[in-house]
Structures are given as structure tokens and as C-alpha cells.
């Protein structure tokens, strides 16, 4: 099997496994690899060598699931919110998307103000322990 990396224009031979090989389309995009095989597309990243420092943040923050605009903030810092409580409205593609609390906790702060544009994966809200 032959794999071609378009970004570097290099090809690699991959030894076929026991079953018949079928072409895999592959592209590396920085820290991601995209593969297409038998009608399915998969995205891979390198496994972390050690726990990422950001893992801790990830557990406490809500991130923008898509690029968009914060149109309304629905809670205040200091509020204790239940799981599923609406925290803010994000507008993308002219649709409203409600960002809700992943669990019970205290709203520590909002990273973006109403009217601000946020990019994919940018933190939106920090949520701390309930008390």
C-alpha cells in the first residue's frame, strides 16, 4: 500500500496487512492526519507523550464548538448553575446555538463579551466547583 502526504509531497510504502489492500487517501495538516478509506473519513492526532497541561483546563472550560459570535450571555460570574443550564447563545451560520453547562458548578468567568467573535476551540466559560 502506498501513502502519499500531499503537504510534503512524499510517499510511503505501507506493508499490506493480511486482507487485500485498498487505497487510503491521506493528508497531513500540521498536527492532524486525515484519512479516507472505504467511504469513511477519519482524523488522527499524535498521542500525547505526557498528559497535556491543557487537559486540566479542558475539564473546567467550555470551548466554542464552531467559529461564531456571542450574541447573549445568560448567566453571571458567581452563579451556581445546574448541569444543562444555558450559559450563552452563540450565533453561527445565522442560527442560534445554546451553550449549556456540562455539569453543576460555579460560573467563574466568561472569556468573551456579548458581540465578540470567537474562533473554533476558543474558551468561552470557565466553570469551577459548585461552592
Amino acid at each position: 500500500m502506498r501513502l502519499k502526504d500531499l503537504t510534503t509531497q512524499t510517499s510511503k510504502d505501507v506493508e499490506p496487512l493480511a486482507r487485500p489492500a485498498q487505497h487510503i487517501h491521506a493528508v497531513r495538516d500540521g498536527r492532524l492526519v486525515w484519512l479516507h478509506h472505504r467511504g469513511e473519513t477519519y482524523v488522527f492526532e499524535r498521542s500525547p507523550d505526557r498528559p497535556r497541561r491543557s487537559t486540566e483546563e479542558a475539564e473546567h472550560d467550555l470551548f466554542a464548538p464552531m467559529p461564531g459570535k456571542v450574541i447573549r450571555i445568560l448567566a453571571n460570574p458567581g452563579d451556581v448553575v445546574d448541569k444543562g443550564a444555558p450559559l450563552l447563545l452563540l450565533e453561527a451560520m445565522k442560527m442560534e446555538h445554546e451553550i449549556r453547562a456540562p455539569r453543576r458548578g460555579t460560573v467563574v468567568k466568561f472569556f468573551a463579551a456579548e458581540g465578540a467573535m470567537v474562533g473554533l476551540g476558543e474558551p468561552l466559560v470557565e466553570i469551577g466547583d459548585p461552592e
Binding site: 500500500m1 501513502l3 510511503k12 473519513t41 488522527f44 492526532e45 453561527a92 442560527m95
Partner: protein, 488 residues
């Protein structure tokens, strides 16, 4: 010199219209935003003019700039495509006032059908059946008369925006407030109305065509029942639920609707087809539809060519087919994450391979290197398969979806294929609640072979000597935070 047509749009529909112009020997003029300088529609056109920054309101929605380009390029006609200014009656009027040909219906017909409340009144007067409803949202007795479940809709709306299904009276006020905001933001008009919600209907629409000699014809139906968040995903013609007798009744109702507003050029009359066989007027789309290729493939007609012919003053041909010759199914390829609430995706297309074969048609606006930005609709392409039977068309579409490669941006390619392979779709059990009701099988997890291939692509490890699969893991941007999409 042949007449020039300015195409006031972008993406696959701009290309589609330009191709039709070339067939007729017409020159083409493209307009584009700063984000689209390298877009396919720009290089395809005879000439192209930049009209502003990426946001549509600063470029593709700027009527003044587009008219200025028309003047500067000596274009004699404007085709609006769909979306953007296509159903903007004052733009159509401005085009006509500038002495140009408007490749679309008369502004008065756009106006009459543009506001849903007004069009409902007109249809009732013309004897076309409409869904029971009210536009007096504040009147408690009117609300009760509509009954539950009901649906709140924006009078200026479309495409599922500014629309919510409500199943309890308690939820109605919140739904109204949310729809008002969305309608104001998307259409600049917060007017809403309330309609009875017909459970498990099919969405069946009739293609109509009028010429300037007073003739209006219908060209069969499209079944657009497979929808997610009230937006169409898979469309087909003919509808598995429409008999020749029903096709004739729907066609007559659609022609009556079009004639009631003096319709000229291509239009679509949408109906809800209830499980009991009753049908109700939903709305009329006063433009070419996204899914027009389904009719083209099933009936063997070129709707955009007909649009050009009628706009330049020709009568409709007398030999248009009145029954489908083939079955056609279209799948809309969106940049979205189908596993995460159909969230729109953005990015750069790094690898792009189109399918081919008998009965396969790909209407695409992208290529390798295209940027999929946050500024425009996430629809990248439409894949259409034609067959002698529904099953042949379906199998061709499944195979073509399999063959299509888009890397660099998440798409719904696999989701479309998995929907088309459900026993329910195969058995024609389609209605607008299909995707809520039917469980679509999940994406099969990648096997170790793929993990090893991915690891090899990173170049970290020699590929041929048993690269451990653990060197890589699946990337999931959604795992970082919890989020929910507002229920429509």
C-alpha cells in the same frame, strides 16, 4: 457581441448558471467577495469583479455594488441564483429599473409570496389548500384554535431559520421570543405566525414554470422529506408517495398558485403531504431551487436553460415532458459534523476527488485548496444520481458517495451514505421526522490498520515494521467541552 449575464452569487450555483450561459453562447460576469478571490466561479467567468469584504452583507447582499458592476461590465441581464438577493423584490425591481433583464419572476410575484402571511391569504383566495393557522400570536383564543402541536414561523423566513415546533402551551412564549430574534437577525423582519404542526408529513414540492405569454406548466414533484433541523439533505424525484393521479392534482394546485400571483420563470410550490393523502400549500419559492437538478435528471430538462430562454423573451417549449423518465436522488454535501448536531465546519479542502460514472452528476463549488469559511452557507456540493428505478439511482448514489474524497474539512459524506442504506429509506418510509425517528448506524470505528497508516503519515515511525497504533489517537475537537444545539 453576445449578451452578457451577471451572476450575483457564488459557489456551485454560480458555476451552474454560468455553464448554462455558455451553452447558449452568452458571456458571463462574476462578482466575488475578498474571501472568494480564488474561487471556482471567479475563474470560470468571462470577467469578474470584487465587490467587498467577506461578510455577505458587505458583498453578495450589496444590491448597489452589484448594479454598479452590471453597468461597468455592460451586462444586459442578472441571474441571482438562490439565497442572497434571489428573493429580494426591491433588488429585482432595481434591476428592471436599470433597464436590465431580471432572470427570475416579476418583483410583484416575489413580494406576494415572500411574506408567508400574505401568500397564505392569496392561496386561500385561489382555492389552494393551506395548513390551518393564525397570524394573531398575541390572541389567546386564536392560539388555542390552532391547537397543539403547532409551529412558530417567521413570515419572512425560509430554510428552517426563525422556526420552532411547540408541543406545550408553556413553551410557546419562549419559542416566540427566540424565533423573533432569529427572524430579525436573518431577515430583518420579526413578524411571526403560527401553524398547526402536521405530524409525519412528507415534504413534496412541485416545479412550476411560467413564460411571458401567460403559459404556466408543472414539471412533476420532488420529495424533500429527509431533513435535518428543517433543512433538506436528500431529495428525490419522483416521490415514492405520489401516484400519477396525485401528481396531476398537485400540479394543478401548483399552477393555480403560480397563476394567482402572475408568475413567470422558474418557481417551486411546496406542499406538506399528510399520511392520509391530503396536501397543504406550505410556501412558494420564487427562484431556482437548490435541488433543481433532481427534476432535471428525472425529466431530462435543463431548467437554467429554460430560465434564460424565458427571461430573454422566448415562449416555453410545447414538448416539455409531463411525467418523469428516470428516478433521480440528490444528496447535499455539507461541511458539517453529522455526529455532533450537524455543526457547521470550516477549514481548507486539502484533498478533493469527485465521483463519476453513468448517471452521476456532481454540482460542486469547491476544489482542492478551497477555503470553507464561516461567512457562507456550509453546502459544498450536490451529488445527484439517476437510474431507471429508484433502487438503481440509490445504489449509484451510495457508490458515488463512497468514491468522493474530501479531506481537510469534516463533511456529511459518510452520514449521507449511511442514511441511504437504512432499511427505512430503501423501503420508501420517508417523512420529515425521518432523521429523528430512524436510527442511522454510526461510523464504523477505524481498525488498527488505519491507526498504523496514520502513525506512518506523521513520519514518526517506520511504516513497515509494525508501527504501533498507540502512536496516534482519533482527534475529537468536541470532547473538550459539552454543548448542545438549541432544539428547533
Amino acid at each position: 457581441m453576445p449578451p452578457k449575464v451577471l451572476i450575483a452569487n457564488r459557489g456551485e450555483i454560480a458555476l451552474r448558471v454560468m455553464r448554462a450561459c455558455r451553452v447558449r453562447g452568452l458571456e458571463t460576469v462574476a462578482v466575488y467577495s475578498e474571501a472568494d478571490a480564488l474561487a471556482r466561479h471567479v475563474e470560470f467567468a468571462g470577467e469578474a469583479y470584487e465587490i467587498g469584504p467577506p461578510p455577505a452583507r458587505d458583498s453578495y447582499l450589496c444590491a448597489e455594488k452589484i448594479l454598479e458592476v452590471a453597468r461597468a461590465s455592460h451586462a444586459s441581464a442578472i441571474h441571482p441564483g438562490f439565497g442572497f438577493l434571489s428573493e429580494n423584490a426591491s433588488f429585482a425591481r432595481a434591476v428592471l429599473d436599470a433597464g436590465l433583464i431580471w432572470i427570475g419572476p416579476p418583483p410583484s410575484a416575489i413580494e406576494a409570496m415572500g411574506l408567508k402571511i400574505e401568500s397564505r391569504r392569496r392561496m386561500i383566495a385561489a382555492g389552494v389548500p393551506v395548513v390551518p393557522g393564525t397570524h394573531s400570536l398575541e390572541d389567546a383564543s386564536e392560539r388555542l384554535r390552532v391547537g397543539l402541536p403547532c409551529v412558530v414561523k417567521a413570515s419572512a423566513g425560509g430554510g428552517g431559520k426563525g422556526m420552532r415546533v411547540v408541543r406545550s402551551h408553556d413553551a410557546l412564549d419562549a419559542a416566540i421570543a427566540s424565533c423573533r430574534r432569529e427572524a430579525q437577525a436573518a431577515f430583518g423582519d420579526p413578524t411571526l405566525y403560527l401553524e398547526r404542526y402536521i405530524e409525519r408529513p412528507r415534504h413534496v414540492e412541485i416545479q412550476v414554470f411560467g413564460d411571458s405569454f401567460g403559459r404556466v406548466v408543472s414539471l412533476g414533484e420532488r420529495d424533500c422529506s429527509i431533513q435535518r433541523r428543517h433543512q433538506k439533505v436528500i431529495e428525490e424525484s419522483p416521490s415514492p408517495a405520489v401516484t400519477p393521479q396525485l401528481r396531476q392534482k398537485l400540479g394543478e394546485a401548483a399552477v393555480a398558485a403560480a397563476k394567482a400571483v402572475g408568475y413567470i420563470n422558474a418557481g417551486t410550490v411546496e406542499f406538506l403531504l399528510a399520511p392520509d393523502g391530503e396536501f397543504y400549500f406550505l410556501e412558494m419559492n420564487t427562484r431556482l431551487q437548490v435541488e433543481h437538478p433532481v427534476t432535471e435528471e428525472a425529466f431530462g430538462v435543463d431548467l437554467v436553460d429554460l430560465q434564460l430562454a424565458v427571461a430573454f423573451g422566448d415562449p416555453l417549449p410545447l414538448d416539455l415532458p409531463d411525467a418523469p423518465r428516470s428516478h433521480a436522488i440528490e444528496a447535499r454535501v455539507y461541511a458539517e459534523d453529522s455526529e455532533a448536531g450537524y455543526l457547521p465546519q470550516t477549514g481548507k479542502v486539502l484533498r478533493y476527488i469527485e465521483p463519476a460514472g453513468p448517471g452521476i452528476r456532481m454540482d460542486s463549488g469547491i476544489r482542492e485548496g478551497s477555503d470553507v469559511s464561516v461567512h457562507y452557507d456550509p453546502m459544498l456540493a450536490k451529488l445527484i444520481a439517476r437510474g431507471r428505478s429508484r433502487e438503481e439511482a440509490r445504489r449509484r448514489l451510495v457508490a458515488a458517495l463512497d468514491e468522493t474524497v474530501i479531506l481537510g474539512v469534516k463533511t456529511n459524506l459518510s452520514f449521507l451514505r449511511r442514511v441511504l442504506e437504512t432499511p427505512e429509506f430503501i423501503a420508501c418510509e420517508t417523512d420529515t421526522a425521518f432523521l429523528e425517528r430512524v436510527s442511522v448506524p454510526p461510523i464504523p470505528p477505524p481498525d488498527e490498520h488505519l491507526f498504523r497508516s496514520a502513525a506512518a503519515c506523521f513520519g514518526a515511525l517506520p511504516a513497515a515494521d509494525g508501527t504501533p497504533a498507540s502512536a496516534v489517537r482519533r482527534f475529537d475537537p468536541m470532547s473538550a467541552g459539552a454543548f448542545r444545539i438549541l432544539a428547533p
